[in-house]
């Protein structure tokens, strides 16, 4: 591999304005970038992550951050073994592609950590740009990583982790890391992707990008009407939406109702009412979001005929009733509680509007079998994930239609 010789600029110069936030990697960046890939799902990595999970769960602060707690559970051995069984193909030799350069989103605290573990388990060396904002969640996880880095047993894994923070305008750093990586993983924002892509990659390297997406939720009112624990459904929906300001790529903006007219009407009333109670209790609405909502609503009314705002008590929750489903519906969205609603005669009615921008379809009251059938029969242009309400944010090694482990590793054929 010629890779390292290609780097003309001395490394030190490029790392000048970078804050390196994990400890051991600092002494020996050269060794880090020259280390060799691992097998996918290696025992070392699983041991390491299991220990990381233990350290995190011991940290008092983890309890106050559900996202850190969820991450800790994800890293437990039992979960990882399950994933190994699912993804590792017996008899096939698969090792990491080399150096991954991860660029994590600036406003989702733990995303960087998931990106990192999939990088480790696919056998790679990881340079991770963590959010430049100061999130305590990041601090907790970095602290745990630093704890492990002092432990000799985990040295080889620790040496494959290089966490950096730097200003988004520091293009030298992005340029340099791009020039030495084998895969660059860019987490969203179309504009971010465009700007980062201005930095060349080595010929064999490639990008895995997670651009802006659109998500929807399908609720079968005929089942929902019988739901006893409606507040639990609301809780799940709240976590899918308001918990991240309805601004995660997985957050639904379009709610498609199925079922009889009467059941839909009743269900809507119950569903939104129970959600509203939660939002009122937990969500802080910022004034400018309210202006955003009303602006988006009027803008939508100028572009989509026949929409009506449903009466709501306040501005925490805006519901927009659609008369029909237009192909450009995904253009009219707003964060912080703005929902388009449509009553469809069947799930297949929505196929025509689904394009490649559609990512997550969350659902309630539809048998899994029917969902699989829907995909097989309709083969919509978009939708990469179908999850129950409340599970849209759950990280999976299949993301945005990529099988991440196999995308980030290479298969070696011996014949």
């Amino acid at each position: 591999m010629q890779r390292y010789e290609d780097v003309v600029i001395p490394m030190q110069a490029n790392l000048k304005d970078i804050e390196i936030i994990n400890q051991t990697a600092l002494d020996d960046f050269d060794a880090l970038i020259k280390s060799r890939p691992y097998d996918i799902f290696s025992d070392d990595d699983i041991d390491y992550l299991n220990e990381l999970s233990r350290v995190l769960l011991k940290d008092q602060r983890t309890r106050s951050y559900p996202d850190v707690a969820t991450f800790s559970f994800f890293c437990r051995r039992s979960n990882l073994i399950g994933l190994k069984n699912k993804f590792k193909i017996e008899g096939r030799i698969e090792v990491g592609r080399g150096i991954l350069f991860h660029i994590a989103p600036s406003n989702v605290p733990v995303n960087f950590a998931y990106s990192l573990i999939v990088g480790l388990l696919s056998g790679n060396i990881n340079i991770v740009k963590v959010p430049s904002k100061n999130f305590e969640q990041v601090e907790i996880i970095v602290n745990a990583i630093n704890n492990l880095s002092r432990d000799r047993r985990y040295k080889s894994v620790s040496n494959r982790i290089f966490l950096v923070k730097y200003d988004r305008d520091n293009n030298h750093a992005t340029k340099y890391f791009s020039s030495i990586c084998n895969v660059r993983i860019i987490w969203g924002g179309n504009e971010s992707i465009r700007r980062i892509r201005e930095n060349a990659l080595p010929p064999r390297a490639f990008d895995v990008t997670f651009p802006d997406r659109y998500s929807l939720c399908v609720i079968n009112a005929d089942s929902y009407i019988a739901e006893k624990n409606t507040s639990k459904v609301a809780e799940g929906f709240y976590n899918d939406t308001y918990l991240f300001d309805q601004n995660a790529c997985t957050s639904p903006h379009l709610i498609v109702w199925l079922g009889s007219k009467q059941n839909v009407k009743k269900s809507q009333s119950i569903f939104w009412h129970s959600l509203h109670a939660l939002v009122k209790d937990r969500y802080t609405l910022q004034s400018v979001q309210v202006v955003d909502k009303i602006t988006e609503f009027f803008n939508q009314s100028l572009n989509i005929e026949g929409i009506k705002k449903s009466k709501t008590k306040d501005n925490l929750l805006w519901r927009i009733k659609l008369e029909r489903l237009d192909g450009n519906i995904e253009d009219f969205r707003c964060s912080g509680g703005y929902f388009n609603e449509y009553h469809a005669s069947s799930i297949s009615e929505i196929t025509s509007v689904i394009n490649t921008k559609y990512q997550t379809m969350s659902y309630y009251g539809i048998p899994k079998k029917e969902l699989i059938e829907f995909i097989h029969q309709e083969k919509p242009n978009g939708i990469d994930r179908i999850t129950p309400i409340g599970k849209t944010m759950d990280f999976s090694f299949n993301w945005d239609g990529y099988d991440l482990v196999h995308t980030l590793s290479r298969v070696i054929e011996v014949s």
Binding site: N107, N111, S132, R195, C249, V290, N315
Partner: protein, 357 residues
């Protein structure tokens, strides 16, 4: 609808009850007018399920967020009747607002501005200093907010001088000569707050120039956003001007290109006043209900002037406080208020931009 009768009375002479009745009539009529004339406006009002024939007070009429004028061309006249297009100073990266005027609306704006401002300057015209550069007026068909302001206020001047050269440098020779030539008269000065600070106050300070404007009156507008970032308060702004030039009569105003003409002038007590041609409603962000006196909220502005475009009831992106109604010490009737500033940008979570700050 005729507003001529209103020109015969003082613009601050109607108490709460009378003014509310007047505004309700005029604004409901304007709402119906735009509903009939603008398909866009109709679509929006229908989407809100608002019945335009319902008898409501003006606070219950629909309001459009000002940002909409940046996203869409909203007009209630045929293209051939457009006599002027005004554009707002769009913040960087944003589309500017476009406001379409016909002769009638444009004339109303001029007349109302004259009516309001002459309450402060007196009805005779004076020699005028414009604290800006003539280059702002280059394109006569597309008026920027600054250009529109300058042209609007120019009617109060007899002789006019632009204090800034084309390169925005202070033209101290012309200015000095103008002040000397008009020692005997009361000079009227107009400019935009930030421009005045940056190109006038700062220059006078830097070059240690003394200019005697103790007999002049200054009217300025355009907002405090840029000065806030330099931590210059309205009080300090006035003090700097008084120290450097002896200026004592300084009046800020609150207005926007989307509702040109019916501006809110600051009184001697530092309060912004609505005239009989307009009103403000402070709304609670939580549910858009009307806030109490003393409560911070989003400013909605209504004006009875906009006939050529549906801008008679607008939700701004400013925060403000209603200080009182009909009882300001200055004696003017109507609501008086204070502008806090722009709504803060939202800090939102979610996997949008890795490049967002």
């Amino acid at each position: 609808m005729n507003i001529d009768a209103l020109f015969n009375i003082n613009p601050y002479s109607l108490g709460k009850k009378e003014k509310s009745k007047l505004l309700s009539n005029y604004l409901a009529e304007l709402t119906r007018h735009h509903y009939m004339k603008s398909v866009h406006y109709k679509a929006m009002v229908d989407a809100m399920s608002f019945d335009i024939n319902s008898e409501v007070t003006y606070t219950e009429l629909p309001f459009l967020p000002v940002r909409l004028f940046k996203l869409n061309h909203l007009s209630s006249i045929a293209n051939k009747d457009i006599s002027k297009t005004m554009i707002s100073s769009g913040t960087s990266g944003q589309q500017p607002s476009k406001i379409f005027l016909d002769k009638e609306t444009s004339l109303r704006q001029t007349k109302v501005l004259a009516k309001i401002v002459s309450e402060f300057t007196g009805s005779t015209r004076s020699p005028m200093i414009i604290l800006d550069s003539i280059s702002v007026l280059k394109n006569r068909n597309m008026f920027s907010a600054r250009g529109a302001g300058i042209i609007g206020f120019s009617m109060f001047g007899t002789k006019r001088v632009y204090a800034l050269k084309e390169n925005m440098e202070l033209d101290i020779e012309s200015l000095g000569a103008f002040v000397r030539d008009h020692q005997e008269s009361r000079i009227f000065i107009f400019g935009f707050t930030f421009m005045i600070y940056k190109h006038f106050i700062k220059e006078l300070q830097k070059k240690k120039i003394n200019l005697d404007l103790s007999n002049a009156i200054l009217i300025h507008g355009g907002g405090w956003k840029k000065l806030e970032s330099q931590s210059i308060s309205p009080k300090e702004f006035k003090k700097l001007l008084a120290d450097l030039t002896g200026l004592k009569s300084i009046y800020d105003y609150y207005g926007m290109v989307e509702q040109t003409g019916s501006i809110c002038m600051e009184c001697e007590y530092g309060h912004l006043h609505t005239s009989i041609f307009s009103d403000i409603i402070i709304r609670r962000p939580y549910d858009f209900s009307v806030a109490e006196i003393g409560e911070i909220g989003i400013i909605q502005t209504v004006s009875i002037l906009p006939k050529s475009y549906p801008g008679h009831s607008l939700l701004t992106e400013d925060e403000g406080i209603l200080l009182g109604e009909d009882d300001c010490q200055c004696g003017r009737l109507g609501k008086y208020f204070q502008v806090i500033g722009r709504l803060k940008n939202a800090e939102i979570r979610g996997c949008s931009d890795t490049y967002a700050s």
